[in-house]
Symmetry: C2
Subunit: 205 residues, 2 copies
Amino acid sequence: MIETQEKILATAERLFGEQGYAATSLRHIIAEAGVNLAAIHYHFGSKEDLLDQLVMRRAAPVNTERLAMLDRLEAEPGGPPSVEKVLEAFLEPPFRRISEFPDLIKLMGRLYGEGLMTVIGEKHFHNVAIRFLAALGRALPHLSQAELRLRGQLVLGAMSHTMFYVPVSGSKASVDGAVLLRELIVFLSGGLRAPAVLPERIEEK
Amino acid sequence: MIETQEKILATAERLFGEQGYAATSLRHIIAEAGVNLAAIHYHFGSKEDLLDQLVMRRAAPVNTERLAMLDRLEAEPGGPPSVEKVLEAFLEPPFRRISEFPDLIKLMGRLYGEGLMTVIGEKHFHNVAIRFLAALGRALPHLSQAELRLRGQLVLGAMSHTMFYVPVSGSKASVDGAVLLRELIVFLSGGLRAPAVLPERIEEK
DNA sequence: GTCTATACTGAGATAGAC
DNA sequence: GTCTATCTCAGTATAGAC
C-alpha cells in the first residue's frame, strides 16, 4: 500500500512530539500505525532517517516561506530591514503553524536538546541560517561577526526552548502562537540591539 | 570499594557530557571505569538515578551560591537590585565553572532538550526558580506575572542553549566563560527590559 | 515493488551466588 | 559489596512470500 508510508509518518510525528525521539520505539509506532516493523526500514532506512524525512516534510515549506519573506523585505527601499522585521520573517512561518502542527513544533524544539538538530540542521537549515545572519548583521552594524554569531545562537536557544516548553494548546496556561511570536520578537530584538560587549575579534577557526 | 562509586560518577560525568545521556550506555561506562555492570544499579539504582546524583553533586553548590548572591543583593539598600545584578547572581556561579567542569556544563545544557531537566529540575531547582523570578519581577514592574514567566523561560532557553552549543574549550572558535557570561547578561537584560506586549492577564491554570 | 516473519546484537534491569 | 547469569525490549538486517 502507498498508505503505509503516510500512516508511519503521521503516527511517528505524533508520538515523537508527545514523548520525544529517543523515548519512542519503532515497535510502538508500528503498533499504533498497524504496519509491520520492517516496513519502516523498507520505506525510510532507519529510525534517524524517518525522523529526518518527517521533519523536513514540514520544515521545507517553512524555510521556503522564510526566505521569500526575507527576499521581500530586502527588496523594499529605505535601507536594510529592521531587526524586528528580520526576526518576524524567521519566526512567523513556524509559529503560525503551532495550532495546526503542535506536536511537530514541539518535536522541533526537542530536537535541539536531543542533539539531533545538529545533524538535521546542518543538512537542511544551513542556507537559511546564512541568509538570516547576514540580514541581522546589516540591521546591527555595531556587532562584530563573532558577537553576531553568538547572539544568533541565543536567538535559536530562546526559540527552540519556547517551542518545546511553553504550553501552547495544553492543559494549563495555554498561550496563543501569535502571542508567543510577538513576545519573542520584542524580547529578542531587545537583546540583539543591546550594546556590544566583545571589543575585539574572537579567535577564529 | 568506596572508590567504585567515585569511579562511576567521574566516568559517567565525562561520557554523558561528551556524548549525551541517551547515547551513552551503562556498558560503555563500566568498561572505561573498570567496574561491574551491576555495581551501577547497586550504588545508584538506575541509569536515571545515576544522572540525577551526578548532576546534583555539581549543581547543589551552584544553587547555594546563587541564593547567597541574591540574598546579598537584596540586603543592599537602595531599592530592589537591577535586572543585570539578578541575572549575574543566577548566571555567574555556573559559568565560572565552565573551565573546571566543561563536560558537566555541556551536559546540563543538553538535559533541557533531552526532556530530563523537567524531571530533575522540578525536584531540585524549583525554589531557586521561584526566588529569582520574584527578584526579576521587582526589577521589572512593567511586566505582568504571565509575561514575566514567559520571559523567564526565554532566559532559560538562551542559557541552556549556550551551555550546550557554544564551543567553550573545544577545537574551533573557543569562547571564554567570562565572555559568555557578559554576553548573556547584556543580551538577556536587553530582552527583559523590552516593553510589555501582553496587555492583560493570560488565562491561568 | 511491498510487505511479513524471524533472527541478531546490544541496551537497561534484576535475582541470586559468593 | 561484588559479580555472573539471565530477562525483556530496543534498533537493525535479511530471506522470502505476495
